[in-house]
Structures are given as C-alpha cells and as structure tokens.
Amino acid sequence: MTRLSTFILVALPLTTGCRFAPETPESSTFEPLPETLLLKRMSLDLTGTLPSLEALEAVEEDPALLEGFRDEYLEDPRFEEQLVFLLQEHWLTAIDEYFSVGHDDYGLEDTNEYAWERAIGQEPLRLMARIIVNDEHWSESVTAHYSMGTEITSKIWPMTGYPDGDEGWHQVEYTDGRPASGVLSTNGMWWRYTSNDYNQNRSRAAAITSLLVCEDLLARPVSFENVSSILEAEDVSEMVQTDPACLACHATVEPLAAALFGFHWVTDYVIQEMERYHPEREVAGPRELGVNPAWWGEPITGLNELGWAIADDERFYRCTAEYWTSILYRRNLTLEDRGTVDDHFDAFLTGEARVKMLIRAITDSEEYRAGAFKVSEDDDIEIARTVRTMSPNQLSATIQQLTDFHWTYEGFDQLDSDQWGFRVLLGGVDGDALTRPALDPSLTAVVVLKRLAEAAAQKSAAHLGTGEGLLGEVSLDWSPEDAAFGTALEALYLQILGERADSASLAAYTEIWTTVASLTDSQTAWEATLGALFRDPLFYSY
C-alpha cells in the first residue's frame, strides 16, 4: 500500500463504498446567531478563548469579516492547544490514573504528577493536533513515523529528537524499533487502551475499530446462545474463530489483535514492559491467536501496515467527519444526521483530507451557526444545541486570557484534573467514569464557576488603574454618574460577554456596583462587578 493509493482512494470517494443518500438541508429550521456571538462561538471552539475587543468591534462593523477571523483562528497558536481538548472528547486518552504505575515509579516529584499524567495521555492527541495544525493529509495520523513528547516522556521513554533543555511538546521519534503508525504507535494510546494476558489485545482491537472507523463492535449484544460449548471448551479462544455467533465480531477482532503484539505486556502493568515496544513479540500474535494479521479481511504483515490499511479505508475519513461534527455541534449524532455528516465528509475529501477543511465545512453549516429555533422545540436533548456550555478548558483559558489567573495547585491544573481538581465538577470528561461532557449547568459547575470568578476578579482588580488588565484604565474616583464609568462598564460587558449591553443590563450591573460600593469601597465594587460578569450566564454559555 502506498500513499498514492490512499490519495486516489480519498480523491474518488463518491464512486465507492456504501453511503447514505444526501438529504436536503432544512434551511428554515434556525435563526442564525448574531455575528458577534458567532465570532465568540468560533473563537471559543477554535482557540478556547474569547475574541478580542477589536475583533468584536470589527465584525460588528462589517459582518463579512467573520470568515477571515475564523480562518485566522485556524492559524492561531492557541488552536493546537484547543485541538487537544476537542480530540480528547472522542479519544479519551487523557486520564488521571494508569493502573498501579505512577509518577513516583519514575522517581518524579509529586509536583510533576499532573505533568506526567498529561505527557502520557495527551501524546496521541498532541500528535493529531500537530498534523492538523500543519495541514497535513489525515492519513498521517496513522502512518506518521514520529510522535510528540515532553521534557518528561522524552527522558523516561525511548525517544530521541527532543531539544536539549527545552520544555513543552516537541516532535520526537521512538528508538525501540516500533513501526511508523502514527497514533497507533504511541505509548499514550496503549496505556489508555490496555489489554492483559487473557484479553490478548482484543480490547485494543475494539478500540481501534471504534475510534478510527466508528465501528463499535462492543455495542453489539453478546448472547451466549451456544453456552454449553463455551462451558465445555478447553480453550474459548478457539471458539471465537469457529462459533458463528462469536465470529460476527471476532473475525475482525482476532486478526487486528494479532497485529498488536509488539505492545503486548508479558507481565501486566510493569513499566519496563509498558514503556517499550517489543518487536520480537510481533510473531506471537499469529501464534497466540491462531490467525494472521488483517484489517477487516485485508491481509497485512503487522502494525507496520496497519496504519496504511486504515488510511486506505474510506470509513476512516467518514468517521473523522462524524466525530468532528459531533464535537463541534456539541451533541451526539443520530441516524437523522447522516446527510449532514455526508456533506462534511465530502468537504473533507474535497479538501484532500485536511481536517482544517473539515472544520471549515462544519463551522460554515447552518446548525453550527444556529442561535435559536425558528419554531420553539421541545426539550429533547438530541436536537441541535443553539446554546452551548463552556467546557473546563475553555473557562480556564478564557479566564487566564482575561485576567492572567490560572488555578493551579501543587503542579496540577485544577480545571483539568480530578484527583483534587474540578474538571468533572465543571462538566468535563475524565475519560474513564465520565466520557461525555455535561450539556447543562450543574450545581457543582455553578459553585466552581463562582470560586473561579472570585479568584480571577480579585487578581485582576489588583491592577485596577495601573494601565494593565481589564480594569487597568478604570479610576477609583469614578461613580455611576460619570460618563467614563458607563463607558468602562459597557466595554467590559462587550469584552467578557461578547455582545453589547442593553440598557437593562447596564442598569443591573451599575446597581451591583453601587450595592457593593455602599457596603465596602470602590475597589471592591469593581472587583465584585468583574466577578459577577465572569459568573454571568451569558459568559458561561455561548
């Protein structure tokens, strides 16, 4: 298999394969978002942060500038960081615990625990994000010869190419002889999707089909109809290759699992086993499972060809279009969405399988840009999301953008961790017990937001009148009677909430300022006003 064959396949997608018939979009379903709010949505989704005041005012003046800003976001350095969190919602590799293996097994200080956990779990996400940012063909994600490492993993794992003395994520290569298979050759992938001596990579095979081609074999019901033969079998592994009920899934699972034995751990969950690829064990796959490696019936020699086989499979690209649609629409898809996914799939392929083109297509769609339903719907959650809730990482990045406050504790990013942090309390996914983001405000999210707002407002208010930060130009001498007061409040409202304040909102915020000023002083009143803006439902939703 060659890259050329992949290109040909993806360039001629509509002539092959089984696809849903496109449906006519219902153009009258939605009221579009006002342009400034759409800019806010695009900025939050693509950079994790709010649009600048200048961008808001520019789009307010000339809505035609919107697409240009969207394209700028796709080239923004923050885009790569945001991609990691978006990809996590599908791949779920960034978890907090890796069995009995911990940072202390590597002699790392406790303050490095969080960095160690994310260096592992984000490895495949960072690789995919880098490929997207570089605007490379998506086949690269399963064929790349390199991976991504940090100052931690580059030292503890067999990696080379990490720049001396540097920090953060950089491109690296493994030195243990593992094949070039992109995310399929990352430790981060297989530390998350594990197997053991009994399972023999079958669960990993199921993870591959689910994550890469959206064929969820585990969703199929398993019923032991022929139970006596299972009970009497000397070796159940043999049955899965002969029993028709088993074969329905295992005809795919067994040959795929057989290609993964370089990652097989002879002793479970021992770091010396886990951190290295074992080329000498590749031959064990066919021997242990009794089948030769294959991808859905197509013979391959092993992991070295698996990535190429996937890259030649049209379902790989359609699945990518499917999960990106789900991620950016902030909802689960249903069968009724097949036409929409087909449209995005077509745009993806027309764009030569560059994910940026796919994202453009999705963010161009009517549903993505929906602000409301033209006809009020019932509360069925599977309808389009015209109102979205900020995710923990969006909150974290936005608050940091506006105030420089970053909630950390002993090395942990508190909005991106769960042991002592608040990720799931804010509706995020932990990749384990919680695999879908929360769609509605919860009690815990409201409380975390309250504390986050208090802390951020306090940090920002410390710069009041200094020329720096949100309150830098504010004077403690101003009172609500001053024109400058109203102007400053209006600007804060626009910058934080992404829309112009109406008179009622301005009056309400003036009132909270006055109330707090009467209880304390002008400094505290500005801090309270800022804190209230960070807790405003219009800030938290987008």
């Binding site: 406790d110 585990l218 032991f224 009970l231 689960n332 002592w420 919860s442 208090e454 009132e511 505290t524």
Partner: protein, 426 residues
Amino acid sequence: MPNFSRRQLLKLLGQTAGVATLGSIGTPSWARAAASTSDRRFLFIICEGGWDYSYVFSQLFDNAYLTPEDDWETAEANGIPFVASENRPAVSTFFETYGDRACVVNGLEVPSVAHDRCMRLTLTGGTSYDRDDFPSIIAAASPQNLLMPHTILSGPGYNARHGSSVVRIGENAQFANLLSDDPFVLCDSDIVLAETEVEAAIDAFVQKRAMDIAAATSNSQRKRFNETYGAMLERLALAGPELNNIELGEGDFESQMNTAISLFELGFSRCAMIRNLGEYDASWDTHADNYRQNNHYELLFQALNDTLEALDNKFSPTTGARLSEETTIVVASEMGRSPTENDSSGKDHWTYTSLLLIGAGVQGGQVIGAFGDEVTGERVDLQTGELLADGTKLESAHVGATLMSLADIDHAEHFPSTDPIWAALK
C-alpha cells in the same frame, strides 16, 4: 500531590468544627416543608469489575461447570438460601439480620462482555447514549427542590436529559472544599474571601440575572439554560450553612457510605452512587486469583451491615421515620464471572449476574430468578417471582422498571415494553 487526607487537611486548617456530628443537625426548613411519602431515597452500590455470584447469591454446588471453593457451605436465613463461609462471616450476619429486607435477583442477563457497555446496560437498561441512568431519572423526578438530587460519590454516571440533577462531589470531596470557609485551600494563589454581605449580594445578583435572561428570551434552550443556572443558585442559597453539615470522610468506601447517609439525613439528596472496588481497591475483575472475591464480599457486607444499622438509627428529614424505612439500597455488579476457572485460577467475564435489593419497598426474604444448568438465567413469572419455562428472561431494563415503580414513577414512560419485577415489590 500531598498525601494527607481531606480529613487531615481540614484539621490542618482548623475546620473540623464544620464537620459536625449529625445528631446536632437540624432538618433544613426547606426540605421539611416538602415532605412526601413517595420521596423514597436510593443508595446505589456498584461492585465494579464483575462479581462472582456463586460466592454468595446462588448455591451452584452441584453444577457440572462450576469450580467451587473448599470453604463453601449451604446456608439459609430469613427465607434466603445463600453461600456461607467461615471466611465471610459478615455475609451470614447480613442475611441473618437483614435478610427479611433483602431480595436477591439471580440470572440477570447483561448481553455484553465489555465492562463499560455492561455498566451502561446495568445502570440505564440499554446501550444508547441518549439514556439517563436510573438514579438520575429518579432524582430528577423528586417532588422536592433538592440541593443535590443525585450525588455521585464515586463511580459511573450516564446522562442525557437529567445532567443538572447530578452532583459529583469529587474524588476527595473537593465540592465541599469549595463550599467551606476556605474554598481556595486547593489553590496556589492567595485569594482573600469576599465579605459575607458582598458574596451574598453577588450571589443574589447572578441568580436574578439568570432568571431575568430566562424570562426575557424566547429561545427555549437559552431559557432552560438560564432557568437551570438560576435554580442551582437558588438551591445553594436555600441550603445555606447546612452545607457544612455534610459528613465527609477520607474517600474510602465506608466513609462514602456515611456521606451518603448524611446526605439523606440532611434532605440534600434522593439518590447516591458509590463505587466498590473490593479489597485494596483491586477491582472485582478477578481474571486471576478468583479467591480474592472472598475478601471483596466480606468487606462489602461488613459495610452493608454497618450502613443498615446506621439507617436504623437515623431519621428522615421529611417524615421523621427511620431512614431505613425510606431508603432502598441497590447493590449490583455490571457482569458476572464465568463458572469455570481459567489457567490462572481466575474467572473471565460472564453475561449473567445477580442483584441485591434491600430496604424500603422491597419484598424481602426471597430469591427471584436462578442460574440454570448452563449457568444462564432462568425465566421467571414477574408477578410471582417463581421460575416459569415460558416466563420472562430478566434483564437490566426489568431492574430499571422495578426501580421506577419503587420511586413512584410511571415505569412505562421510561421502559415502555418492560414490566417491573412485581414480585420484588411490597
């Protein structure tokens, strides 16, 4: 991370006074005012990994396929036959003391061998992502404006429509930290807490703001978002200082059970979820060394005995009755284990399992269903609970329908083609 426990953390901060003994706690006025006999409480305990039902729930000694243990003995107490062992005294104590409140369901089919799918099946009755789990549905239907309708102390949760009813308090009860007198204890920055009057003014402002936006918009989703947001703040305001009375532990299974009880006693929650991972949190997934199930069961039943004793001595905030009379405990595991041992003295996944229902509304002293000769589920008559050749094959949807009935919810609304296990209901 620092290796001190939350309890130690509070001590360090001099906040132990905030962790009050429950006897000193009054019933929140807002909860007391909304008493309802239909507001039964539910404690869900999920034994994660897949338990071996043959250790306790089903006497399969003569089964040709089963690998038994030497110490197993037949026993019966309060009408429930079970597997006893000198190594599991707490199990015998449970059935002897509380068997009249307990209903064992055997032969429940969970048609998958993947843990995550089985867990979703066990808690939602299906595999679809658009289903809420049983506790969320029950909590959302509560007639009261509860602070924390369904509290997940640990373990899974599945939500589609009722996510706003669910509260996760964090692995180390971080939620309580945020509500304490020092909410920024888990923060590197020095943050000075606002004065009480200022904090209250901002809280009230944000709540009113949410409600004003909800009232002004014609967008149904924006209205719902803001109403929900405002309702959360209203709940917090109503709970007020009572929040400090939630009994916190060190995050282990027993202490989480105590926290759940305190949430019920305070009238904060209708449902609570706790994950049990067995001894040393080693998981019930015993592909090797299946004998570890012994200690898992012993510790589980010790905790159950303690919990039932505690519930007998605590009182409902709504009716004043003993909490045990208003609390249903659901003890489940997402799958069973194969009858025969593998080469590592372990047992692999099995698509049939057992379930234990205890307490309020449950017709105790009985076993419903059975494992047949091939260790699959026997069909039952849902009305009588007796085995019936052309009866119903028990699935998790039947459990869901049963729990809906126990919670005074129309089961047909959520499980239109599935009846409850009527025989399990009083």
